[in-house]
């Protein structure tokens, strides 16, 4: 393969734990850097203003607000392969635990019933994206090509998936759920 594979990683409604696990690839990151161009990621500075056309995107986190919805559709349109990266992306996981409550209840708990620095619920207008009524896993909105389980997925599982995709073979992942 002459041209480097274009990779992006995105962080939606998650805790960044999956990205931390990605960093746990440690020295394997150097090997990876030789094979891929990391186009866009919370881990690196980027020359792209907009989401670029890429081969593979790892998406961490669930879809929790209106910005995530827009972002996910853009990612799907511009990525050849979209990977649900970690349990929040796969099932909603922790991020979706608020789904048993209404958004008002959630906001009241966060800003009124607990100790808050600023009194009342912040309005934010256009600055803070509006929360969706229900948090959703990625596949409820777009087609997903691979699901990587784990909260977070271990570096070894990430490595197996990424190298399999680079080599164009099926990943050999031990079956697990959650």
């Amino acid at each position: 393969m002459s041209a480097k594979v274009k990779l992006a990683t995105v962080w939606l409604g998650g805790c960044s734990g999956c990205h931390m696990s990605f960093l746990d690839l440690d020295e394997r990151l150097i090997e990876l850097a030789a094979k891929v161009e990391l186009c866009l990621s919370p881990l690196v500075d980027t020359k792209f203003k907009d989401f670029p056309d890429v081969d593979v995107t790892l998406v961490e986190g669930a879809v929790a607000n209106v910005e995530h919805v827009e972002m996910l559709h853009t990612i799907r349109a511009r990525s050849k392969l979209v990977i649900a990266f970690g349990d929040c992306a796969v099932s909603g996981n922790i991020t979706a635990m608020r789904n048993t409550f209404t958004v008002d209840e959630v906001m009241n708990r966060a800003y009124r019933e607990t100790v808050a620095v600023v009194k009342g619920v912040p309005v934010g207008d256009d600055l803070v994206p509006k929360l969706l009524a229900k948090v959703k896993p990625l596949h409820e909105l777009v087609t997903i090509d691979h699901y990587l389980q784990g909260c977070p997925p271990s570096a070894d599982r990430i490595w197996e998936l990424v190298t399999a995709l680079l080599d164009g073979r099926a990943p050999k992942l031990e079956r697990r759920f959650g």
């Binding site: 996981n93 979706a96 635990m97 048993t100 596949h139 409820e140 997903i144 079956r175 759920f177 959650g178």
Partner: protein, 240 residues
């Protein structure tokens, strides 16, 4: 007691009259997926995970509720069955609130392990996210309704093994839930002997010992083996 011969997955097997397809298969190293069945307590056919194909029957049968017949031909692992079981599992996961990453049973859960075994990598039906309670009124144990799959193992064990009959199911459909005594908090139950047997047989993290952190709840069902060997062989040992 008459002996019956049948074919399961192409192999000839024998059992005695009254045995279920599940049990005969199990004794012949054919493991049919199951959730509500547990050796040592009566079967109720609550989960349908043990579905099999029986030649000559148009419907699928729950193997734990199907008694063997002479000449029966059974298949336990076909494409159709695998797909049905997978969907059943996805329905179970979507019905309650299963957040394995923060569950006491993470890594030691029968539901989670079976989901992985069946190849569930995501849930294709929309999650319901029902609002359910957690009962922490008991001094030693907890009940998290979010993780209960209504298998009734606890109900049957408390009734048939401990003889206390604390548990019952109440409500129907999506309102189906476990109740202690007549619907009291578990801690107020006058019948509960605090033996913990229900906790040990529960396949999920719904029933747990208080003080367990994420992934710490491991269940021990050896007491059931002890009872089964005692009952069947009149030997009070844990291993035959």
């Amino acid at each position: 007691m008459s002996v019956k011969t049948l074919t399961i997955d192409g192999k000839m097997m024998t059992g005695v009259e009254g045995d279920t397809v599940f049990t005969v298969a199990f004794h012949n190293q054919v493991q049919i997926p199951r959730l509500c069945h547990l050796g040592g307590i009566p079967d109720v056919g609550a989960c349908r995970m043990c579905l099999v194909e029986v030649e000559g029957r148009s419907k699928l049968s729950a193997s734990c509720m199907t008694t063997i017949e002479e000449g029966m031909v059974v298949r336990t692992d076909t494409e159709t069955l695998r797909e049905y079981r997978k969907l059943l599992m996805e329905l179970l996961l979507a019905e309650g609130n299963h957040v394995c990453s923060v569950c006491v049973s993470n890594g030691n859960c029968e539901l989670q392990a079976l989901a992985a075994y069946l190849g569930v990598d995501h849930v294709r039906v929309p999650y319901r996210h029902p609002r359910r309670e957690v009962d922490l009124s008991h001094e030693r144990f907890g009940l998290d309704h979010n993780r209960c799959i209504a298998c009734t193992r606890c109900v049957r064990t408390c009734d048939e093994v401990e003889g206390a009959h604390v548990w019952d199911m109440a409500g129907r459909g999506e309102k189906l839930h476990l109740v202690a005594d007549l619907g009291e908090p578990w801690g107020d139950s006058e019948n509960c002997t605090k033996c913990g047997k229900c906790v040990q047989v529960c396949p999920t993290g719904a029933l747990f010992t208080k003080g367990s952190a994420v992934g710490e709840m491991e269940k021990d069902r050896s007491f059931l083996k002890y009872i089964v060997y005692g009952r069947e062989r009149h030997q009070w040992v844990k291993k035959p």
